[in-house]
């Protein structure tokens, strides 16, 4: 049986790429037997949802500073005049 550490690493991998059939079974089997990992992975799933929410709609009040805005405006203009 996989250890909790292996399960944690395997599930990080599962997020990036598919797992083989036998890895999936091993993962499932461990989760069935281990309350700690069940809880942990529910929590990780929640954080994943939180991350998606956080990054799809950044809420902070950051804005382009005046200087940057002006610089970008000038660069867009000069790039246009090249055409």
């Amino acid at each position: 049986m996989l250890s909790c550490k292996q399960v944690s690493e395997l599930s990080a991998r599962a997020k990036c790429e598919g797992l083989s059939f036998s890895d999936r079974i091993k993962l499932k089997y461990h989760m069935m037997m281990c309350k700690g990992c069940q809880t942990y992975h529910q929590q990780i799933n929640l954080l994943q949802q939180a991350t998606a929410k956080l990054f799809n709609k950044p809420t902070g009040g950051d804005t382009l500073c005046k200087e940057a805005r002006e610089r970008i405006k000038q660069n867009l203009k000069s790039d246009k005049s090249k055409d």
Binding site: C4, C16, T39
Partner: protein
């Protein structure tokens, strides 16, 4: 459809005014660096200007701009790959002791449960705490985490960009990062004193 067709929102000269701040926030959250975010906003708008006839009008201008920006952000990471001190990222794998698991790979400390976890996703304060947990990560770890969570890059591509030698090391680093974030949220939100 011809290239001369114009769309009601197609007014490139106002893009900076209309979407600049939003694009900036989007880039800043992912790049974690103000001047990098400013550069990427500029790159995005320049690319959009050049490609405006390719805009097909089946999405909002903002969505289209953000689509371009996603590529520009990955470009930026590629270009700055060497600046990311991934040696130190991988270094921590061999040098530091595992704080999470015992020698048999079992949890060192029991995993606390969280009450009403879904409620948190509707609370602004929760996101502020979560953001500060991400900010508290070592910078390289934060960058890797954000890049992994917000792009569809394959693990091989991620390793290349972040200079990690094996995908195996990538999983270990990512799983440690997640544990660290989980512990931070546990301590500062769900089981805060």
């Amino acid at each position: 459809m011809t290239s001369s067709k114009t769309y009601p929102n197609m007014n490139p000269s106002s893009w900076l005014d209309d979407y600049g701040d939003e694009l900036y926030r989007y880039a800043l959250a992912r790049l974690r660096d103000k001047s990098a975010a400013e550069d990427v906003v500029q790159e995005t708008l320049l690319a959009a200007l050049k490609a405006q006839e390719n805009f097909r009008g089946d999405s909002a201008v903002k969505t289209w701009l953000i689509g371009i920006m996603k590529f520009k952000i990955i470009d930026f990471y590629r270009k700055s790959a060497r600046e990311i001190q991934s040696e130190s990222l991988e270094h921590t794998l061999s040098s530091s002791e595992d704080n999470d698991f015992d020698e048999n790979g079992r949890w060192l400390t029991a995993v606390n449960s969280w009450s009403d976890p879904d409620l948190a996703l509707h609370q602004d304060q929760f996101f502020a705490v979560y953001q500060s947990c991400i900010d508290a990560l070592p910078e390289d770890q934060a960058k890797l985490f954000v890049l992994n969570e917000t792009s569809d890059l394959s693990s091989e591509e991620l390793c290349k960009i972040i200079n990690i030698s094996t995908t195996n090391n990538l999983w270990v680093i990512l799983s440690r990062t997640r544990k660290r974030l989980r512990d931070c949220i546990d301590k500062n939100w769900f089981n805060a004193e």
